[in-house]
Symmetry: C2
């Protein structure tokens, strides 16, 4: 009886054979990225120094289903399909009539969902003869995933890691080294973008926006090198839809239909990966779940940002992206969910949000760590601070169900484990963690510097 199960596993033959491109099902595609100089939509030729042609094609593609190369499915086999788990012990501890399901992505080699897109990105680059990939990483999850993927394809991997994380998370750095990657603290003296920042502030903590500038600069300057991005872009979100496709099948095996889907959003790829296949079914009228993004109160691009064209990085090297943004000059307070500390948001998700296809809420970090501890003590897995946002929202909803008596089916994605984030849990448990207030003036000041389009 599947509905009595705690975990539903799928055989590796059930690894999806296609990624789902939600653009095919939208009334209009998202507004295109613009060239900051000309103001015109960027074309493949503008992106060619940064990305392999196949990914450029996927970025602009409108095909509903994109075949996953056999070779990529073969690497996915190392950890996919991932389990869908019913949080029975958490439900019991909460005393809720709600049924909570979580899709667990922390069993990947890198410990998070990021490997789902790192592998195809490495695959396409290798197939097009690229020798080296550059990227940035904040908390380290994306850098680790790309380092792993590059090891699978014999690619060199060079990573600019936000200095604050580089210094505070030496183990993440070591893990990238185990996979053979080279890791630089960012800002670094190796790039013009890094040098410019260092000149103004030699001891600055760095930011994701700066690290992106550095990795992009190096990729653009070498023929055999391309750049890889771990979130935000359409093709990255599409690669993550393996999460939702599997979850659809697994939730059906539990005999369930979702009432609420919650996911955390930084750049948006984890949330999109879970939600898009369910949105497809919703658009087709087969299910009707409410869908909700959870973002950190310290970096609330959906709930307090604006929808406008902005740069994806700090130095202004990327195309202009129409997205929910706090301004490319906005530096979020140092919350521990490093993967959610991004000033912008995926343009595709931003477009869907404007279309009213999902809602968003913001949560403070202490309530997320409280939820993380509660989850660990019942379900065993310690959530990374990023998915702890989704867990906090799921728990809050389950407690509302306790009040109302509604037996809602709540689905969330636990996109990574927190074994690299235990210093943060320690701060929480010792009472040293604090929440940040974000005065409206700080947002207003950053938004005042938006490029005018």
């Amino acid at each position: 009886m599947a509905h009595e199960a705690t975990r539903v596993l799928l055989d590796e033959s059930r690894i999806p054979r296609t990624w789902y491109n939600i653009v095919a099902d939208l009334p209009a595609p998202p507004p295109p990225p613009l060239h900051p100089g000309t103001g015109r939509p960027v074309g493949p030729e503008d992106l060619a120094p940064l990305f392999p042609m196949e990914l450029i094609a996927q970025e602009a593609g409108a095909e509903r289903f994109v075949p996953i190369p056999d070779d990529v499915r073969d690497v996915y086999r190392l950890w996919r399909p991932t389990p869908l788990i019913r949080a029975r012990r958490l439900e019991r501890a909460l005393g809720t009539p709600a049924r909570i399901y979580y899709k667990y992505e922390g069993g990947s080699p890198s410990g998070s969902h990021k490997a789902n897109t790192a592998v195809p990105q490495a695959h396409y680059n290798a197939r097009e003869g690229i020798r080296r990939l550059t990227t940035e990483t904040g908390a380290g999850q994306w850098g680790t995933a790309l380092a792993f993927a590059c090891a699978q394809y014999g690619l060199e991997c060079e990573i600019w890691m936000v200095r604050a994380s580089h210094d505070q998370k030496p183990h993440r750095r070591s893990l990238m080294g185990v996979y053979g990657a080279t890791v630089h603290a960012s800002p670094s003296p190796l790039t013009r973008a890094g040098e410019a920042i260092l000149a103004g502030d030699p001891d600055g903590p760095g930011s994701l926006g700066i690290a992106i500038s550095e990795a992009v600069e190096v990729a653009a300057g070498a023929d055999d090198t391309r750049y890889a991005l771990g979130s935000v872009l359409n093709h990255v979100l599409m690669h993550q839809t393996v999460i939702g496709e599997e979850a659809l099948e697994q939730l059906a095996a539990f005999g369930e239909t979702p009432d609420l889907i919650v996911g955390c959003t930084g750049g948006g790829s984890n949330f999109a990966g879970l939600a898009f296949p369910f949105l497809r079914e919703k658009l087709a009228g087969r299910i009707a779940p409410e869908i909700r993004a959870v973002e950190p109160a310290a970096c609330p691009s959906f709930t307090r940002g604006t929808y406008a064209y902005d740069f994806g990085d700090t130095a202004g090297l990327t195309p202009l992206l129409k997205m929910h943004t706090l301004g490319h000059g906005f530096v979020p307070d140092p919350i521990h969910a490093g993967g959610l500390r991004y000033h912008g948001m995926s343009p595709l998700l931003s477009h869907l949000y404007e279309l009213g296809m999902f809602g968003a809420v913001a949560r403070s970090q202490t309530e997320c760590f409280e939820a993380g501890v509660r989850f660990a003590r019942t379900e065993g897995i310690v959530p990374a601070p990023e998915p702890a946002h989704a867990v906090a929202e799921a728990i809050a909803e389950a407690l509302r169900c306790k009040e109302s008596g509604e037996p809602k089916v709540i689905l969330t994605a636990l996109c990574g484990h927190g074994h690299f984030d235990l210093a943060a849990y320690d701060r929480y448990l010792s009472g040293e963690m604090r929440d940040f207030t974000l005065p409206q003036e700080r947002i207003d000041a950053a938004l005042a510097a938006l490029p005018v389009r």
Copy 2:
């Protein structure tokens, strides 16, 4: 076609319903533990201050199959059955005709196989009205597992952590804290055993033997408190047989019969857990695999120790155990595989070794880390330093197969991931790791202090 698979998963209905007690199938049981004062076999009344009655019964039991309580199977569901994975990418990189399979236990909440026995130990203690468990931990895997298990049963958990690890592995300590446990650096001023050591050496790094003495002393001194051990004892090894039972079924699903089974040995529970069910089949004449234990060259109890009665701890508080030992005063060099730094060996495994039921080899730590890096770059998972010993042996055998052309089927257990051991990998990659030589005089000196029985 199952034999084309990379991973064989089992549905949770396939979690074993019984543990396997190999004592039932031996020509003679292992020599009993002796009371150090009287020299007579210890009885249940001697153990009652330390363990719940059900575990005391299991320790001395001779029933072939012991039912796993439903409630324990229910907690196992959080991560069991664990996958059996064919290391296709490693095989390819080695160019070997051998087929390498690994049973992966790192997906448990605590990241290792230790949870398999922590959960039933917490269960039986809770059922008998115990309020608190004490234990020791070295590298932290056992302490983490027991902390998790105690959280599941509402028990208090108090852990003495070897000071060297306590100071070097703050994240392990934090993880135990997330599960609600209290962690003390050992030697601690909280016990007579700890105070005595501190008086002689206030800044000593501690050892597993000392930490055991402290945890035992506290448990023995309080009616509502018992002690839990993570390896060595018969009941602990028996609980781990879920690993081998699942692997038997999964290897059959691959259509394979093992030629060689390798596992790492510290106290022996991981090795026994994998090997015992296969030994049962071997004793019954159904399969004929070679079975091989791998121990660290810096702590070689099988290959360079003696088979004699000795204390399980440093202070001499435990019963005398007939086992392969380097002497209870032996302090292993500080290799990074903390879980294998134990002067003794499971008495049951020692007995089997004397019966010629398996062989043993020793490996240096740098060759183990080399194997760990090779494994990570091909299979994705970073092995903990302990199973890296087994991986090193599996790779060495696969390379011998490459010479001989033999397509051997090699099975090993990857009993934990190395995400808490990245500082050690960093030392290896930077060339700073060294191997230790172990002069015979050091072993002789420690063995000279064996209690005479």
